[in-house]
Amino acid sequence: MTLEHTNATGLTVERDLTVARRRRNRIRYHATQLAVVVAALALVVLFAVAVKEGLARHGIKFSFSFLWDAAGFDISEGKTFVFDSGFWLGFSDFTSDRSIAQAFVAGIVNTIKVAVLAIVLSTVLGTLLGVGRLSTNWVVRNLSFWCVEFVRNTPLLIQLVFWYFAVVLHFPPIAAAAKFYGVIISQQGLYVPALTWQGEGSAVAIALASACWVAVLGLVFDRHRTTRWICLGALVALPSLMLATGTLALDFPVASKFQASGGTSISPEMAALLLAIVFNSASYIAEIVRGSIDALPKGQWEAAASLGLGRRDTVNDIILPQVFRVVLPSFGNQYISLTKNTALGIAIGYPELFNIYGTIANQTGHSLEGIVIVMASYLILSWIISAAVSWADRRLSNPGAMR
């Protein structure tokens, strides 16, 4: 901003000059911004053109049309969106006659599946470990400490290979698998009975199912503790009633020669990836939680003690609620890095996005287009996570929203 000498000829002149100067400055400010944006855009476009030209010179075509070709390969597990029944968007198993685009979707779905489960499980386990490290119990404290130290100080890839080859693949083969109450644990996967809908279109069945949903919503969103207990009770009672009346049935897995069919299953690859990521991420989350608890003023503990609260009540009602408001942004970072770490699934053959990309790039030769899609997908996933975390952060920071 330049200083201008104004001779004091009158107030109006001075005001006009000030207004003009401000306008000029504002225009200059916006012009600079615009110029920077235009220059950045031009650089990106120029870069894209240069790359495309360079590729064309080697006879490599840069085009996304291969996405609609038939895949021609199988994926060991994975669901994708399908348009079989006309207008409705379906969701079913990937098969080799689906398109390449649907293979990408199957990979993204597999990535999200592991990421969501890992986020939930590692938050719970990490918080337990973090609180455990500050426990007054010597055994719990040291156990938590060594778990965290051991996991944090070895590479994730090596932990993953360990979980897969040294643990999960040492489960018994399907012929000698451990079976109890319909659960089959074998090296071909973990099979559990699944609930299947038998109610067809009967009004009673639909009413019961809707009641279940209301109970779930109530459990999550209602502010009154009593209402939530009632919802929880309803969630136990209603499905039991539906099972008894036969609108819901249990589908038990049945072991055959090579694998089991029926029920739902978790493949050994997914189990190993989940174990590795949950333990790894939990140990970092534990450190975040421990650090935040340590950072709380000692007076919080003393005040709780002077009110006569026990240790458990102090942690649950005084310490953790304050901790969670502080740690959420750090948790967000952890969730994002966890989601990106799922790409290590390629090391043990879990068909997540990066693994599927490898197959697609090799079968079609379009590795550059593929990596663009992969990068965009991870970028969007990370954005969604950080948006969700900052939403939760805002909600928690708002005193009125606190329970």
Partner: protein, 343 residues
């Protein structure tokens, strides 16, 4: 335009490297550099692997690298082996990281049409096979309905298996893909995979190198043919021709009975064809931009095709792959190893 080039060089180093040498042939680059960068596998016994007792790279593909170095540079030791994987091998050539790749690569149209590479003559005829553990009691491919098959990522086997399932109407069978053969073999041993599927030569190698080869059974079925060839970057005829005819030279040498052992004797031969073939008093090399004695140099370094095969894959090796009655025999013996006419 110049600015664009600088930009490209800074940000897309691989492509820029090729671009600045767009007009020059790899042949000139190799001769100028004085060494050949050859991409090979180092985990495929019989084709390209590091012999841990001698510390040397060995295999059919490795010998082809040496033969090319001898033909182009006159010295088989002027080859630098760059390890490539099933996934990285194409990018390695496209970015000029290597001059040529010999890495048991199956020749198929999509690879030439969309990856901008050109293949060299077939140097081994393989087929996709399936291996199971003997204790599983499986005797043929059709016993495996519902089984989990494992293969490596980036190989044609992925699509071959899918087609085989479709043809038989199998829906429960699954394909698991691993990064490399080591993990694949470990998964077969642990029981996660009911069957391991890849090229038969690789199956033979892994079974042969295991502590108890009798524990494994390679099923008689061949799911698909799998011809191997080296490859170079596309649209470089001078380089490709030099390499093609160096390879054919190895085939022709076997047909004409010229071997590493009798090379010195053959160099003195009065036969005009042998003289010209070996570059005694003028040969075929000059027009390709190669020394006239390029075939003789290659034979001196690694021997003819038959010798290369016997050393790396034949019945005297752990691979135990007999040429007789397979396409890998010379055409004069009913095989498919065939060189075009040299005269």
């Amino acid at each position: 335009m110049n600015f664009k080039h600088i930009l490209m060089a800074g940000t897309f180093a691989g492509a820029a490297l090729v671009a600045s040498h767009a007009s020059a042939s790899v042949l000139d680059t190799v001769k100028q550099r004085g060494t050949l960068n050859c991409g090979t596998d180092n985990t495929a016994p019989g084709f390209g692997y590091l012999n841990t007792t001698t510390g040397q790279m060995e295999g059919l593909d490795v010998d082809f690298c040496k033969a090319i170095a001898a033909a182009v540079l006159g010295d088989a030791s002027k080859v630098k082996f760059v390890t490539v994987t099933d996934k990285s091998r194409f990018d390695a050539v496209l970015t000029n990281q290597v001059d040529v790749v010999f890495a048991h690569t199956t020749i198929k149209p999509a690879r030439e049409s969309s990856i901008a590479i050109d293949f060299l003559p077939i140097n081994f005829y393989d087929g996709t096979g399936v291996m199971v553990k003997t204790e599983s009691g499986v005797a043929k491919f059709d016993d495996l309905d519902g089984a989990t098959f494992c293969t490596t990522q980036g190989s044609v086997t992925e699509t071959v298996l899918t087609s085989a399932f479709k043809a038989r109407g199998w829906t429960a069978s699954k394909v698991l893909t691993y990064e490399n053969l080591e993990k694949l073999f470990a998964a077969l041993n642990s029981g996660r995979c009911n069957a391991m599927s890849t090229d038969k030569s690789a199956l033979a190698a892994w079974a042969g190198n295991s502590p108890k080869p009798a524990d494994y059974l390679i099923l008689p079925d061949t799911l698909d043919k799998s011809p191997f060839g080296g490859f170079v970057v596309a649209n470089d005829s001078r380089w490709r021709n030099a390499l093609r005819w160096s390879s054919y030279g190895l085939f022709q040498a076997e047909e004409s009975g010229i071997s590493q052992a009798n090379l010195d004797e053959k160099l003195k031969s009065e036969d005009p064809f042998v003289q010209k073939f070996l570059g005694v008093g003028g040969g075929y090399g000059k027009d390709f931009g190669l020394p006239d004695d390029f075939v003789a140099q290659a034979i001196k370094a690694v021997g003819n095709y038959g010798e290369i095969y016997a050393r790396n894959l034949g019945p005297d090796t752990k691979m135990f792959l007999d040429r007789k009655g397979t396409p890998n025999a010379l055409w004069t013996e009913g095989g498919a190893i065939y060189s075009p006419l040299w005269n």
